[in-house]
């Protein structure tokens, strides 16, 4: 801090700190308040909770709803479905737990004002598919944000949390978090008895398909900056399945959703010659993954695999034949609303390229890889499961607590808990919120204590990129090229390129191998060192600098897990060129890592996959 700095330190003391105001965080806030009437609950968000997170546009469907009230589905069936989609490797206890609660979440959403489409014949929610229901979801996030505002003691918008704080007296216990305001530029120290991390997963760690402005149109929000993992890694939390990156087959360039098209409108995809290629690729899939090729519905990664093989064979572009199914105004509205509620950019692509879906098919493509925990993928923290049904080695206390005491997670943060989507993430937030209340109420003895010296050190670290730029800038006349620092964007581009080329991005058709991964780790290590030389021109760039930091550390976890798992478990998500087949004998297990901040070492291990549902 310079002599004339007006930067202040603002201390906030609270009982439960919720980091991230998306669906997971809003669910945690609501439920914490319900069970902890007299507790102080503080919600912190780097943007504004009104539209923050992955549901900024809105959504056109809720992809996790059982419909138990109508006997439509049971939680056990959902576990089987998610397990099949992830080729056998999921936390069945966590998924069962979400599936049995999610209906109450959705019913509350309806009560709060979310318009859910109804089936005119049955009067029930209009199903998109077996697990999905259609909604008019443009204001999905504002509605949920209202519930969170009515629950929290205080909501801090525009605060970027960069580090968790550990208890100085009690080993492996969280004590709060630090960050900075992207508006008033002050340093914030949150001291809490329990912390729930419900921040974003990782977009922008692999090179996107577009190259200019278009990199903004990633499938997953560009502001999902891997803070869920970046915060937890440094706190020493055990992480699992970080290699389980997801690739999505979506409408090209705009990345518009395909669910309603396939499931509700019953459109189909073919190669450029009109051939329904998926069916023709069955035998070859069986050779790769054995009995898993027989799972129905076909796992997401295998559908990707079929599309990739088709494209590599030169039979692309792949087309979704929208023109075959829009034979009424009602269907046309469903098709357009599907995009306008959640991916307006795809509507802009149609309008710009003169594509009327009633008349012309649209291209599909597989996306660049993403790492997150709430979709057809489940990277994230190893968490304690529900006390009533989790196997003994899956629980060590409070539901959704990580291996760090007092540190809970929800949404993309938690690993093994696939197919949550919006309603499931909110539900997991609720679970974590209730657990955190119980934890706080049970807390005996001294509450967590933060370390003054550590806070001051972190303050220097956090604001250093501003210093680096302001001082280093004197060396050059002007422009973006300086010998002593790089901008956050320059660092991000380097990360995206190395991950793409060595860790299985689009340029290698998602293939990697041990030699490639080792080379990638060399380059990533140098990038990590260069993080000390990020130059941030202003407070907005400082936010970008810390987003880069979280992304780089997450990328290292992804790389190390990818190296560790010596098989190709999810062809279509990524491939190990040196271990091209699925290997249940050795690898029917979770990969786990734990980073030791004192020694700088990563400890890799396997954790068992228990099938608690037949």
């Amino acid at each position: 801090m310079s002599l004339f700095s007006s930067r202040k330190t603002r201390f906030v003391d609270t009982d439960i700190l919720v980091i991230g105001g998306g669906f997971g965080g809003c669910g945690a806030t609501y439920e914490s308040r319900y069970w902890g009437r007299n507790l102080k609950i503080t919600l912190v968000e780097k943007a504004n909770i009104e539209r923050s997170g992955a549901v900024a546009h809105g959504l056109s469907a809720i992809n996790c709803y059982m419909g138990m009230r109508w006997g439509e589905n049971q939680p056990e069936d959902f576990v089987r479905y998610a397990r099949g989609d992830l080729m056998g490797l999921v936390r069945e206890d966590l998924i069962f737990d979400i599936a049995r609660h999610v209906d109450s979440t959705v019913h509350k959403f309806e009560e709060w004002g979310l318009p859910i489409m109804l089936n005119p014949e049955t009067g029930r929610y209009q199903r998109e598919g077996k697990w999905q229901i259609m909604i008019h979801g443009e204001s999905y996030k504002p509605i949920i944000a209202e519930a969170a505002r009515k629950s929290a003691s205080e909501v801090f918008n525009r605060i970027m949390v960069t580090h968790l704080l550990m208890d100085k007296a009690h080993p492996n216990r969280v004590a709060g978090a630090v960050g900075f305001s992207v508006r008033d530029r002050h340093f914030y120290v949150f001291r809490a008895k329990a912390v729930i991390v419900a921040a974003g997963g990782a977009s922008h760690i692999f090179r996107p398909r577009s190259i200019g402005e278009g990199v903004g149109r990633t499938w997953y929000a560009p502001w999902s900056s891997a803070s869920a993992y970046g915060l937890l890694l440094h706190a020493g939390a055990q992480m699992i399945q970080m290699e389980n990156r997801i690739v999505l087959a979506r409408f090209k360039d705009g990345y518009g959703p395909v669910g309603a098209w396939f499931l509700l409108l019953k459109a189909y995809a073919t190669n450029a010659y009109g051939v329904n290629y998926e069916a023709t690729r069955f035998e070859e899939m069986k050779a790769l993954v054995g009995k898993y090729a027989e799972i129905t519905p076909v796992p997401t990664c295998l559908r990707n695999h079929a599309m990739l093989q088709e494209i590599k064979a030169g039979n692309g572009p792949i087309y979704m034949h929208t023109q075959e199914v829009l034979n009424s105004r009602e269907k046309e509205e469903i098709g357009w609303e599907d995009f306008l509620d959640m991916t307006v950019g795809q509507a802009v692509v149609w309008a710009s390229q003169n594509i009327d879906p009633k008349e012309k098919p649209s291209e599909l493509i597989t996306s660049e890889p993403y790492v997150m925990g709430s979709h057809a993928t489940c990277s994230g923290a190893w968490a304690s499961g529900p006390e009533d049904c989790a196997p003994a080695d899956y629980q060590w206390g409070y539901n959704r607590m990580t291996t760090v005491e007092g540190l809970f997670g929800a949404g993309d943060t938690i690993g093994g808990s696939a197919h949550k989507f919006s309603s499931g993430s909110f539900t997991e937030g609720r679970i974590a919120g209730k657990s955190a209340v119980r934890y706080v109420m049970d807390l005996k003895g001294e509450p967590p204590q933060v370390d003054e010296a550590q806070i001051r050190q972190l303050e220097k670290t956090i604001f250093k990129p501003l210093e680096t730029y302001a001082v280093g800038r004197n060396e050059i006349v002007a422009g973006s090229v300086a010998p002593s620092y790089i901008s956050p964007l320059q660092g991000l581009q380097r990360l995206e390129k190395l991950m793409d080329e060595y860790v299985g991005g689009i340029s290698t058709f998602y293939v990697t191998s041990e030699p490639m991964l080792n080379r990638g780790l060399e380059l990533l290590t140098m990038l990590k060192e260069d993080l000390d030389h990020i130059g941030a021109e202003d407070i907005h760039q400082l936010q970008r600098a810390w987003e880069l930091n979280h992304r780089v550390w997450t990328a290292e976890a992804v790389l190390r897990h990818t190296l560790y798992r010596q098989e190709t478990r999810w062809p279509g998500y990524y491939y190990r060129g040196d271990f091209p087949k699925l290997d249940d004998a050795e690898w029917h297990a979770f990969t786990a890592s734990q980073y030791d901040a004192k020694t700088g070492e990563w400890r890799m291990s396997k954790l068992p996959v228990h099938h608690i549902i037949a």
Partner: protein, 151 residues
């Protein structure tokens, strides 16, 4: 397609600066009106477009892949509970849609602390708030005895 602000319509109110999830709508130092500082981090979520009281923000398709000349404009009528879209194709075709956005008045959500507090039994059970009633089934599903088996 990234956003841009119409010079003639923006009156510098700051709503877009407040709402942008990407922190990329900021105030131009020459005109004191808003502009998109980082189009390559614009997701086209339309949060700013919908929030602008003057309809001063619009979107131009990402130059990487969207030919010029189309427009997708929106009118969010919050009190009425509707959202309306007007889509003009590059070749001039027009499509218009209106969809509902909420079935209850804004601000009408009942705060969780307005519910009767739950008892200690419920706190230590697996039940979440409003359950089992909000599940609309008799009881929360539980897993019967299981034998943990390796897959």
């Amino acid at each position: 397609m990234p956003t841009f602000t119409y010079m003639t319509r923006c009156d510098g109110c700051g709503e877009c600066v407040d709402i942008c999830p990407s922190d990329i709508m900021h105030i131009d130092p020459i005109h004191r009106r808003s502009y998109n500082i980082e189009p390559n981090f614009c997701w086209e979520c339309y949060a700013c477009v919908k929030a602008c009281p003057q309809h001063a923000i619009d979107v131009r398709g990402y130059a990487d892949f969207a030919p010029l000349g189309a427009s997708v404009r929106v009118l969010r009528e919050e009190a009425k509970g509707t959202i309306s879209w007007k889509i003009r194709y590059r070749d001039g075709r027009l499509k218009e849609f209106t969809f509902p956005i909420r079935t209850t008045p804004w601000g009408s959500i009942k705060p969780p602390s307005d519910y009767a507090p739950a008892d200690a039994n419920a706190l230590s059970s697996p039940l979440l708030a409003h359950e089992p009633d909000a599940l609309m089934v008799a009881a929360l599903p539980m897993l019967l005895a299981f034998e943990p088996a390796q897959g």
